[in-house]
Amino acid sequence: MNELEILRRRLEREKKARQAAESIAEEKTRAIFEANRGLQRLNESLEETVLQRTAELIDARDLAVEANRAKSAFLASMSHELRTPLNAIIGYSEMLLEEARESEAQRQFREDLGSIQSAGRHLLSLINDILDLSKIEARKMELFFERFDIRGMIDEVVTTIAPLAEKNKNRLIVTCPDDIGTMKSDLTKVRQSLFNVLSNACKFTANGEIELVAERQRHDGAESILFTIRDTGIGMTEEQLAKVFDAFAQADSSSTRHFGGTGLGLTITRNFCQLLNGRIYASSKQGEGSVFHIRLPATPAQPSAVPEPAADPAPAQAPRTVLVIDDDPAARDLICRNLARQGVRAITADGGLDGLHAAREQQPDAILLDVLMPRMDGWSVLTALKTEPALAEIPVVMVSMLEDREMAFSLGATDYLTKPVDKEKLQAILDRHCQPHTARSVLIIDDEPAVRDRFRHILSKQGWQVTTADNGAAGLAALADAQPDLILLDLIMPEMDGFEVIAQLRRDARWRDVPVVVVTAKNLTVEDRLRLNGAVQKLVRKTDSGLSELPAILGDVFPAEEPAAD
């Protein structure tokens, strides 16, 4: 009984303990529930805070993007604004320089003009570098793929770089197989890349050698073109080499002062190479020189989104024809190449007798004649040409290693060129002597007076009859007065821009067939190119080099004289 009583009391205590435990458990459960709810609220408010902060960040990002866009636009327009007066400075100094040369003015005066011009060109190249980099950074750099002749491209680069190489008494060696063929890439960017690396090599090498080698190779299962630029210059240390492609980090900060340039050339080049799916890499040894390799795909890996421009419309008339008489095949080839680039049809003869025969058969517009040839030399050919009435009127340009102008002119030669033939000189001579018989008229539509003056200067020298208009509307009015043979058209103008002018010309049957050459400082977008495609004959960049090529380009558009009326 006692035992039972003890058990009963124990059970009683257990029951009470259980109830106490249950109420404690309930209390704890409630506390946990409350704590959970608190956490949930905290979580919600955190989410709200995150959403709010995210919205603020998005706003800040949008503002930054907008500011960056505005900055890019400002930079682009600013550099256009900067380039316009600079082009005027360069253009006018060039004109003055030319006149000063002609008038045998004081030497000092000529030198000063030369300084203005070279300082202007230098400033222009710096501005171009900065603009390029800002475009690359803004991812606005557009590519324009086209198929081009590699050898021709290299010749052009070498012509441009030669004076730089000579400045430091460097020997420039170019190795490029004749059958290297073509590649499809962005010509301007390939050319600029090579130029940048070569001009660096020239800057940092004195009394040495600079070698450019171009090879076609199979690399990673695809055709690629490898350009190697080797110099015997000052070279770089490992540290310098490590940051040679970094922006704003020239190998030696003092080299900016010493060697000039923005130091952006290689940065831009690396970016170009990457854009073109290629790469640039370098090795160097201090005191011994540097080697840069640029490897680019021979054709873009993926079909580019940019459509290829339609082929140039076939010239309506036969091109100018020039007969090249030279016994040296290499010399013939070189001249022919130069002529082809100027839109001139070349026929060749490897000796005097053959040359005379070809001249009689083909009646060329001009003859380029070598002096030293076996069997019948150039002087004899010249004499024979001048004594044959049917051939006597054809201008003959003597081409020789020897300086013998007097002999040439005394025998009736029209002009004289020394080997190696300078592209520009050849072009100038042909432009001078292979002119259309009748004066052609050109209408220049451009809002910048400096540009109009410069064109007038260049074109009137070549026998063009020039009229000008300072905007699109004025241009159309001038067109209604007298229809020109050619229109030179700027794109960005107040009131009516170039695009609108082209649209109006194409709508009007009277003017639809007037050839238009666009001359612009604007960097054309793909969209711009599409708008222009087919509507214009040629596009000339409003740069120094672009403008100097103008006569040749006009030669392309107007390749031959009108067939003689009689």
């Binding site: 035992e3 058990l7 124990r10 205590r13 257990e14 029951k15 303990a17 435990a21 458990a25």
Partner: protein, 180 residues
Amino acid sequence: MKGVVFSEFIEMVEDKFSPEIADRIIDQADLPSGGAYTTVGTYDHAEILSLVGCLSNETSITPGDLVQAFGSYLFSRFHTAHPSFFTGMNSAFDFLGKVEDYIHVEVRKLYPDAELPSLECEAPDTNQLRMTYRSKRPFAALAEGLIRGCVAHFEEDIDIAVEDLSDGAGTAARFVLIRN
């Protein structure tokens, strides 16, 4: 004081003495809780002192000896209930050295309101451990029992000297353990 101490005490009395004695001392002690203890509850420490006093009367064993014996019993129960605390512990010194910084820390996580004694340890050499107990409550004897339970658990030959630091109040003491 946490309920587990009370329920373990009652169980010990039932087990080591008898259910009758347990029932009787609960009755005699006239506890505010009525002796209905749950491990999840918290009770006044005075109740355990009353229970020990009553048990002492019943058994003629001094309260100090009873509390110390309960300490040893409690340690073995602790080992059964929380084996995870013994992982990697190879000796009594190992274990005792970590009571303050490991076990008490874990206890506070579970029971933020727990009032734990402080247990400072110093080891003048590898064979000696000096532990100083201080508490608001007079449980130096309980601490001694726990220490002895620990030594017994690891089956080591360790001498334990006890120095009272509280004039017999039982709220502070120093235990000097020397391993033979």
